[in-house]
């Protein structure tokens, strides 16, 4: 069975935030005003942030500072707490190991946001907005399975959203392969952040295929998970610096 997984090599990451921007454009993430952002309302499916988050004496003194950065998409946990607490199955794991979100069903109880150990679930506190020019470049893709609303479709107010490993791209790649009358290959599907990554620090593929890049990388001595003891069995892999 396919088990999609992302690997992020922190050694190669140059913290350019290209993935954040690509994610935004691909998934139509709403933009909030600076005041709202200060109030913790910003939606960042794929955040790039300094580690430790607060600059301290450990990072040295100017000009000899050493900063570390990390990036954080959804971990697509194998024992996902968000899926377990959702009362209406609005968030669910599909057969290929992707934790997906159905915007048409979510009742906005925000239980999943409280349950996710990684804080990657974002609630739409108000009607999603875009600045004029941005609105013109919205991704028209959307994924509708049995009447559920998924993918980069514009989210209604009051629902929760999160990184889906760009699951609509998987559907598109499958449809393209079917239209051309050939087998779908795993390397036809990559999320936008992986495609755009400047430092080529992100890898994506099938963890169940022993020959794929991600399974090879998962055997690396540097391979680690974020908060491994969270009990959620996170899947997204990090290759630690150093």
């Amino acid at each position: 069975m396919t088990d999609w997984c992302m690997v992020i090599d922190l050694e190669k990451c140059v913290a350019c935030q290209g993935c954040s921007i690509a994610c935004r454009m691909e998934n139509n993430t709403p933009v909030v005003s600076p005041e709202e952002a200060k109030n913790g309302r910003a939606i960042r499916w794929n955040d790039v942030f300094p580690l430790p988050v607060h600059f301290g004496p450990d990072q040295g003194e100017y000009p000899n500072v050493k900063m570390h950065y990390s990036t954080r998409p959804c971990m697509h946990c194998k024992n996902a707490p968000c899926v377990k607490v959702c009362p209406v199955q609005a968030t669910f794991v599909d057969e290929e190991g992707i934790v997906r979100q159905n915007y048409d069903r979510c009742i906005g109880c925000r239980f999943c946001t409280v349950a996710c150990p990684y804080g990657v679930r974002y609630f739409n506190w108000s009607e999603p907005q875009w600045e004029e020019t941005l609105a013109e470049y919205r991704n028209p893709d959307q994924l509708s399975v049995n009447g559920s609303l998924e993918g980069p479709a514009v989210r209604p107010v009051g629902v929760v959203e999160k990184c889906t490993y760009c699951v609509h791209r998987l559907e598109k790649a499958r449809a393209r392969a079917a239209a051309e009358g050939r087998e779908f290959r795993a390397d036809e599907y990559v999320p936008a952040c992986v495609q755009t990554c400047t430092g080529k620090a992100r890898f994506f593929g099938d963890l169940d295929d022993p020959d794929s890049t991600v399974s090879q990388l998962s055997k690396s001595l540097r391979a680690t998970h974020l908060l491994e003891d969270s009990g959620a069995h996170p899947k997204t892999l990090y290759l630690a610096e150093g």
């Binding site: 913790g40 209406v88 979510c106 009742i107 906005g108 804080g119 609630f123 629902v159 929760v160």
Partner: protein
């Protein structure tokens, strides 16, 4: 044994149900003045989204959930306490039970409302029935709250049957038809016969036996709502007993306030179908005892 009312009692108790004096309308106006701005603000929240509440990351749950917990807590007072009194056959319970049970019913209704108000999409409430999964903590809560509310309404109704029969029998001739009909349906043909009293007592006892575990389940489930998340300070096994004890504590507190208010207006006491009056010293003794008993437990479990 038909109940009879003196002329004075009839004036005090039955007449106000049909003739609304100025005081009544003043209370209504006062409450409407409180509710209207609240309704307007809620409509605003519906239109603009939950952003108007000033909740944010990581404070996803705020005042609504606090209210919910508070109301669930005080609702414990009523039904569970009157059930315990019923099972222990304490004979001064009658005047208290009615007040206690109304507190429970109204507390629970408001608590349920808080959850709906906290939802980003209250219009999708029906999804909890269509796609609900019982493994989710929120569904435990919905199931438990609904069950508790239904049982509490039923328990209150059982206690009210003799009173409804009284209303049926004493309705003035000018009373509207629908009210007479309603009373006669709701009183279930109550005549006050000895056998009827015996059966009613039995039914109340059975409901009381059921309601105690249901009440305790609601409080533990509400605490698990928090324990099942990974928020610092919430993920703790003590929350279950902590919530139950806290609920009994605050519930009894509210009950004392309500009983004292009712005793002041003496309305509830006169309403009671039992002739015995509530001795004030019993209230005082039990208040002191429960304060002495619960304060250390509650303080102990919270530390």
């Amino acid at each position: 044994m038909q109940q009879t009312l003196t002329l004075h009692d009839r004036d005090e108790l039955i007449t106000p149900l049909y003739k609304f004096d100025r005081k009544f309308w003043m209370v209504v106006a006062f409450l409407v003045a409180i509710i209207t701005p609240g309704m307007l603000l809620y409509v605003r929240q519906l239109v603009l989204g939950l952003g108007v509440t000033d909740l944010n990351r990581p404070v996803f749950w705020g005042a609504y959930l606090v209210n919910f917990i508070f109301l669930i807590g005080i609702s414990m007072a009523g039904t569970v306490i009157s059930a315990v009194l019923q099972l222990l056959k304490v004979n001064w319970r009658r005047p208290i039970t009615r007040i206690a049970e109304s507190l429970t019913v109204f507390g629970l209704m408001t608590a349920g409302l808080q959850i709906v108000m906290d939802m980003g999409r209250p219009d999708r409430l029906v999804n909890t029935l269509l796609y609900g999964r019982l493994q989710a903590p929120l569904m435990w809560d919905i199931a438990s709250l609904t069950l508790y509310l239904l049982t509490a309404v039923f328990a209150l109704y059982l206690q009210l049957i003799p009173d409804i029969a009284l209303l049926r029998d004493t309705a003035p001739t000018a009373a509207p038809e629908w009210r007479k009909k309603l009373y006669s349906i709701l009183s279930l043909g109550w005549t006050g016969a000895k056998e009827q009293w015996r059966r009613l007592e039995k039914a109340i006892t059975v409901v009381s036996v059921f309601i105690i575990p249901i009440g305790i389940s609601l409080h533990t489930v509400t605490s698990w709502l928090f324990s099942t998340t990974v928020q610092p300070g919430w993920k703790s096994t003590i929350l279950g007993p902590y919530f139950v004890v806290g609920a009994i504590f605050s519930g009894i507190g509210l009950l004392f306030i309500a009983v004292s208010l009712a005793a002041l207006s003496s309305l509830a006491l006169a309403c009671s179908s039992s002739p015995s009056h509530l001795p004030v010293n019993i209230i005082n003794t039990s208040k002191n005892t429960s304060l002495k008993l619960f304060t250390p437990i509650w303080a102990g479990s919270s530390s």
